[in-house]
């Protein structure tokens, strides 16, 4: 019943990222001040969410090619974990906005609102799943919807916000992330991205194994 070694590495890695992220000296950036450390949490969460949604898309396409329930379970799990990271990204973003832009939420900020819209599309994925009692039918409709949902994400989170005036870095009139991010922040930022993706893979693994166990016990009972 021992954990696999890579899980200990993820646990240690994330503990180190959190500790060093708070302790490392950072440059005095106007307005951002100490809240610049949120870069180590907020942005990696969005990137992790994108990776999870991409995995969900991959398994949905595999299910449509080869309708085995294992692929549907994996697509659902990856989407669930992605949605959790997306909601955490929204919460950390809202908190950061209060400290730097002076408001918890603003309808003038396209990336903020389009991200919320993206999360709602994925919430609809789970609502849709509850509408079917037949597992095969549910899996097929959910896979088709997931392909649609995943294709909206690059447009909602990356392409459209970059064309509009925004308070986020990299948008129209604002310098891009690469231009304003100090090297000291990057030493923690990139390991944080790896750590969060590792954590998402771990959570995916647990949830997927749990669903497989549940599926097997349900089969035994039937």
């Amino acid at each position: 019943m021992r954990l696999k070694p890579w899980k200990y590495i993820v646990a240690f890695w994330m503990s180190a990222v959190i500790s060093i992220g708070f302790l490392t000296p950072i440059p005095d950036i106007p307005i951002l001040k100490e809240s610049a450390r949120n870069l180590f949490l907020h942005v990696p969460m969005w990137l992790t969410m994108s990776v999870c949604f991409a995995a969900g898309l991959y398994y949905s396409i595999r299910y449509l090619n080869n309708p085995i329930m294992k692929f549907d379970r994996k697509a659902e799990t990856a989407t669930q974990i992605g949605l959790i990271f997306g909601i955490c990204g929204l919460l950390t973003g809202s908190l950061w906005a209060r400290f730097t832009w002076g408001t918890w939420w603003t309808f003038a900020e396209p990336r903020m609102n389009l991200s919320a819209l993206g999360m709602m599309i994925y919430v609809a994925y789970f609502v849709l799943r509850t509408a079917f009692n037949n597992p095969e039918k549910r899996a097929k409709i959910a896979a088709v919807f997931n392909v649609f949902a995943a294709t909206t994400i690059p447009f909602l989170l990356y392409i459209i916000p970059r064309q509009l005036p925004s308070l986020h870095p990299g948008a129209d009139g604002n310098p891009a992330f690469s231009e304003i991010t100090a090297p000291e922040l990057r030493y923690i930022f990139y390991p944080a991205v790896i750590g969060f993706i590792g954590l998402a893979v771990w959570l995916n693994d647990i949830l997927n194994r749990y669903k497989t166990v549940k599926h097997l016990t349900d089969q035994q009972r039937a």
Binding site: M1, L3, S15, I31, K33, G102, A108, P110, I206, V213
Partner: protein
């Protein structure tokens, strides 16, 4: 004339209204720190970052504890299913 689909609100550029600046000097615990124990003095130094780190680490370790616990429980269930499958084949 350039038309923006979404107009920026006037009140969104509230650069001066930062909670960091408003509250960092108003921490009640900061009063009488010179008489406090060395541990408290250390924790309160460096712009309170040690306190933020401490709270964050507590949350992270509690979360980690539950993740590891659930992982082990699922492993146990997997072992039980495997064992029952082997018994069925005998």
């Amino acid at each position: 004339m350039k038309i923006f689909p979404i107009q920026a609100q006037e009140d969104t550029v509230a650069a001066v209204d930062t909670l960091t600046e408003q509250y960092s000097q108003k921490w009640d615990g900061a009063a009488g720190l010179d008489q406090a124990s060395p541990l408290i003095q250390t924790a309160a130094s460096y712009d309170l970052i040690f306190i933020v780190l401490g709270v964050s680490l507590i949350i992270w370790f509690v979360l980690l504890f539950f993740i590891i616990r659930v992982d082990k429980k699922v492993s146990k269930l997997e072992e039980e299913i495997e064992k029952s499958n082997v018994e069925d084949t005998l």
